[in-house]
């Protein structure tokens, strides 16, 4: 019996920190799962407009991104200030779109391919000329599901 008898000191015991790693690990795993590291540097300024009728993009692997905007300050000298298209990590033209889509397609399983959505991240300030060209290129390439990326706002009355 005396084996289990605790030695009772005068000082009150501190809070046990033994479970601290567990708690921290739990948080750690949460953030590890949620984190999506930005693999591409944005070379164009994209400030998306606001809209109310939004659909969430569910499966990230089935989404490819097309950025349209004016080059950021870093690239202004070499690229000018006219709106540019960015595919992956480089400046592109509409001619590069079919190859870009085909490349993404190979990373997606056969059965999932018709669910591929192209997310268009387009700056507020861009005119429809370049957007129309991209849309035409996407249609020609057979990519018909689009998502105009936008920020949430309330529906107008």
């Amino acid at each position: 019996m005396s084996k289990f008898k605790k030695k009772q000191g005068n000082t009150t015991p501190g809070i046990s920190t033994a479970s601290l790693p567990d708690i921290v690990f739990m948080l750690l795993f949460f953030f590890m799962v949620v984190t999506k590291m930005r693999d591409t540097e944005l070379m164009v300024k994209v400030n998306t407009p606001q809209a109310s009728e939004l659909t969430k993009l569910e499966q990230k692997t089935l989404v490819n991104f097309v950025f349209i905007g004016r080059p950021t300050d870093k690239y202004k000298m070499t690229r000018g200030t006219k709106p540019q298209i960015q595919l992956g990590d480089k400046f592109s033209t509409t001619d590069d779109i079919p190859i870009f889509l085909a490349k993404h397609k190979t990373s997606v399983g056969e059965s999932q391919r018709e669910k591929i959505i192209t997310s268009l991240k387009i700056d507020n300030d861009v005119t429809m000329g370049i957007v129309g060209d991209v849309k035409t290129a996407l249609r020609k390439a057979g990519q018909l599901k689009l998502n105009y990326s936008a920020k949430k706002r309330e529906r107008t009355k």
Partner: protein, 181 residues
Amino acid sequence: MAKKNRMSNEINAGSMADIAFLLLIFFLVTTTIAEDKGVLVKLPPWSDEPPPEMKLNTRNVYSVLVNAQNQLLVRGVPMNIEELKNNTKIFISNPNKQEDMSESPTKAIISIKNDRGTKYKTYLEVYNELKAAYNELWEEAAMAKHGKNLDELTNDQQKEIRNGIPLVISEAEPTKFGEEK
């Protein structure tokens, strides 16, 4: 001596918390909880042939023009973007059975045309308002038919309501006006 050795056999887990914290902070800093949302659009398939001439009753077509000055012309009349949604709703549902509005919601067609100089922001706003008009009509139909919100219905019921008021937004080739130099 032997007893002391056995005691120190366990790995000291005291620094575990520190390591975990370090990783945690790293992920906290790098995390951007990506909010990828947007207006979903389905484009018509491309064909090299010119589209077949379709005889459409003009009363069923709701034409929205957006010019390079970002002004709206709806069925030949200038309109503010704030009024667009409600007017579209009235056009589609045609509650007063007006002669110049759609015969029935299934026959209504929305047509958008923009210039190359139109701001993307305006274009998306217009598209968003038109979509909002349909969404509201669906919600109203769901309320009237089932007494529930649209998202509380089963998939089949939702589909039925959506097919009752089909979303048809056709986009014309933009005119070459106001192209950015």
